[in-house]
Symmetry: none
Subunit: 226 residues, 2 copies
């Protein structure tokens, strides 16, 4: 990884146009070719960048008082131009390839907990199948309610308006299968946006906000005693 701290101006032409006036920035060039321009604030997104694959050309500055110019181009026709006036630091240190990041997410776990006990959502609810396949994607949970309804459950960490649409698409798809009639839909999330609730209301879908920690605790009651 090459790290350069320099007084520079940056231009990007591609999906949009962006210009960064002259100032001191960090230029980061990764081993895979990715170039990032960072300021000393604003986590964690760089001001400008160019992802791999790309080509970086470094040449003497074309104008007076310009030390050098970096031109980074990619096959999509995007272009990043960095005009350097002064270099304060320039180091190149190989990092090598490190082992990957190991994640333990909440979303999948939430679905798992609900599959284990759907009655959290509605009394008497019984799981038919998890990740029930349809030709427009898998339904998170397919359940049977006490009143005989088939219930389509869409699980999200955060329930936004697009999650309501997703639920609607599954309902529309499963509606075609008369064996599943009558059909109902539920949006489940730790937090549901007001607009998503309005849309659920309008379309006749139910929604449930669940507390992840509480839910996890409910399945491990022995651990909550002391």
């Amino acid at each position: 990884m090459r790290l350069v701290i320099a007084r520079c101006a940056v231009d990007y032409q591609g999906r949009l146009s962006a210009h960064l006036p002259l100032a001191v920035r960090l230029l980061m060039v990764k081993a895979d070719g990715c170039v990032c321009v960072h300021a000393d604030s604003g986590a964690y997104k760089p001001l400008n960048w160019m992802t791999a694959p790309n080509v970086l050309v470094e040449e003497p500055g074309p104008a007076e008082g310009l030390l050098s110019r970096w031109t980074v181009t990619n096959p999509k026709g995007e272009r990043l131009t960095i005009d350097i006036e002064e270099v304060l630091l320039d180091v190149d240190e190989p990092l090598g390839i490190g082992p990957g990041l190991v994640k333990d997410g909440v979303e999948a776990h939430l679905q798992e907990l609900l599959a284990g006990d759907p009655t959290v959502l509605e009394a008497g609810l019984v799981l038919i199948r998890r990740e029930h396949a349809t030709d427009i994607g898998p339904v998170d949970l397919l359940c049977r309610a006490a009143d005989g309804h088939t219930v389509v459950v869409e699980v999200k960490r955060r329930g936004d308006i697009d999650g309501v649409d997703q639920l609607g698409r599954y309902l529309g798809r499963l509606q075609l299968d008369s064996r599943l009639h009558p059909l109902r839909g539920v949006l489940v999330a730790q937090q549901i946006a007001p607009q998503a609730k309005v849309l659920c209301q309008a379309r006749g879908y139910a929604w449930v906000e669940v507390d992840y920690d509480l839910l996890r605790g409910a399945r491990l009651p022995d651990l909550t005693l002391f």
Copy 2:
């Protein structure tokens, strides 16, 4: 900005759990306190990070063979732990506050241009209101067509299938207001995905692909002469 290249292991506990095994990484500490852990590949997202505001505590490693431990915590209860075994580089260079990034060509600009002259979408189209409020979000452009239709315009930089859904939501919502009848919908973008066009077709929505540069040029014809 402080830049440290070190052999280290990283743990994150917060919205999820993540562990990064021992390897050489770049640690970036910005003036506002943001901490990022970068590998030598992968644009531009860090492997781990902690956004400001936060507190960074640096202390001697608690175990044998451990040089030091950084603990970064924030008010939300998230925690980033960096165990450092070897430091290959450690520099601290003030960058100062630079001028901001200037962007051109984002959705807002496109919307602005279209609001200024809706006839590029359809002859005779007149703007009623920009950002017309509904309880499921603002309609980008609400227009009146020559044939008396009210036209709902959804503007995107890139038209994807979710943009068609968004247009559909607004149409469904405004359909409830008989004063706006009859109603039509148009999806506008610089580029529209094939599937989005298919969905528009199926639902009876119109779509228009516009050239941003051309559009901008059309409003400034005198500037394009030479």
